[in-house]
Symmetry: D3
Subunit: 117 residues, 6 copies
Amino acid sequence: MSGDLAKEKLKRINTDLGGLYKAQPELMGAFGSVVSVATKDGALSTRTKELMAVSISIATRCEECIVYHLDKALKLGASRDEVLDTIAVAIEMGGGPCTVYGAKALRLFDELDNTRT
Amino acid sequence: MSGDLAKEKLKRINTDLGGLYKAQPELMGAFGSVVSVATKDGALSTRTKELMAVSISIATRCEECIVYHLDKALKLGASRDEVLDTIAVAIEMGGGPCTVYGAKALRLFDELDNTRT
Amino acid sequence: MSGDLAKEKLKRINTDLGGLYKAQPELMGAFGSVVSVATKDGALSTRTKELMAVSISIATRCEECIVYHLDKALKLGASRDEVLDTIAVAIEMGGGPCTVYGAKALRLFDELDNTRT
Amino acid sequence: MSGDLAKEKLKRINTDLGGLYKAQPELMGAFGSVVSVATKDGALSTRTKELMAVSISIATRCEECIVYHLDKALKLGASRDEVLDTIAVAIEMGGGPCTVYGAKALRLFDELDNTRT
Amino acid sequence: MSGDLAKEKLKRINTDLGGLYKAQPELMGAFGSVVSVATKDGALSTRTKELMAVSISIATRCEECIVYHLDKALKLGASRDEVLDTIAVAIEMGGGPCTVYGAKALRLFDELDNTRT
Amino acid sequence: MSGDLAKEKLKRINTDLGGLYKAQPELMGAFGSVVSVATKDGALSTRTKELMAVSISIATRCEECIVYHLDKALKLGASRDEVLDTIAVAIEMGGGPCTVYGAKALRLFDELDNTRT
């Protein structure tokens, strides 16, 4: 089922990341601190920051990054309209390839959203 | 003077873009429509969208894009703290090279801000 | 069957793009105008322009973009030899990773070509 | 003088490349063979191939590559209209950043063209 | 079986490359010379060079390149600890997306390693 | 003087980074830990790791990154031949644009080396 696709991608990413954490705890711990500091609520909210990470992920065409940060944004309450606005900025900044990856991001968002309710 | 640097970069970008508009008015007009639609106030504000464009510009290490979108964000009232948060997300998403381009973005923001007051 | 692979990729891309068009008709319409103007017959033919888009797609390793623009080029009468020349330029400009994506492009072209006759 | 800029860039690139050739003649000779084969007149003309290399250079925002391949294209008789068409494809494939680099490419072409007559 | 995944990827890459060699023997021969010269034992060993190619492959998020060069490095005796060090440098140079691709690289290395013993 | 160029670039990078550290000490401290862990002597030496960072910097065409990591590698005793081998791998992995950035890297290395003795 298409709703499973995004969740399966997420699971595979997290399994892989788990393997790397186990092999390099010190490095991944240090990188985890970077993430914590970079995404904490500040002048911009954590949700806005995750959407920003989604925009970068689309612009650089990293599918795993798209699903990973979409999931975080969704858990922080990001709406479909906010995701559409995020995709729009990525298309402005990346042209045709970002229409394809933006369209993919929208589908992944909808899959994640459906599997949650 | 360092304050002139960012402004000079902006002037050069705009002169170049002016030349391209003159040579390809139809194409640039169409692209201008993409920009207008992509950046209009919506679920995300135009200011947030320009900061998002800055984050993509740092993550993809496009210096001209950084100064161009920083200038737009600044004109829309973006604060230094918002720019710092934007830089932080880019560093999370781009590592070492983004510390260098993030640091450059901060300097360019300060130059633009000083030349305005 | 391998001949289906490229066609399935195309179908998935077009389904995704259809979803994005439905959600953002204004943005996608504006981007459609950019594409129309950029690819119209001019000093360079539309076919040459689609091959150019293929070369960029290989150089930036965007598999969806490769299949999308190969399909357009093929419909405009691009020959296998023209595609091979396009791949060669991408390899000159992108080295080893482009041998892999160029080889993939050739296979996708052959799949699309076979499924057509 | 602005006309000197493109020529100066070219001279610096060629000086640097000369230094690398001297230090690694075997490697650079092998790469030279790749270039010769990739750009020879075939199903696509050498001029079209150089314009294709320009489109990749704009799409990947490599300023040195832009001036290097523009110069080759110009020597092979590429017209301003062909360069404009090349820029248009790069903008379709790369969005906003490519308007800036496309505009830069047009200026560099005009500089190279003026210094030649 | 997960151990087959990396091997299947390798087989597909080599099949595709075989097709391109057949279609463009002169170009691929010339590129083969570049590879031979670039990777021969010198101031850096061939193994270190293949690990370097792995680091570039992770940093540029080219999954096919990762498995291709991991396989070469493994055949040259690269250890898991050397691969972990390689991944660490890629994460320093590429941030979050490289944790995902680094984690993927580690899994692919383990798959290749298991299928060999 | 050309020997000053690389040193001036380094100084500007370090000034910019100093400004960012002052504005975001927590973030930059966390990233500093990532760098420390990633580059410590291990299965690969710190020098090899810095050369690896140089190879990634050339492959991704980040001039500031090239000079920054070349300087570190040089301080750790990297030889010109090791740098040439590093450039060769980047050219294998990045084609034509990396001949230009590799040639630039060689010049920057020579500048840094000359200003040191």
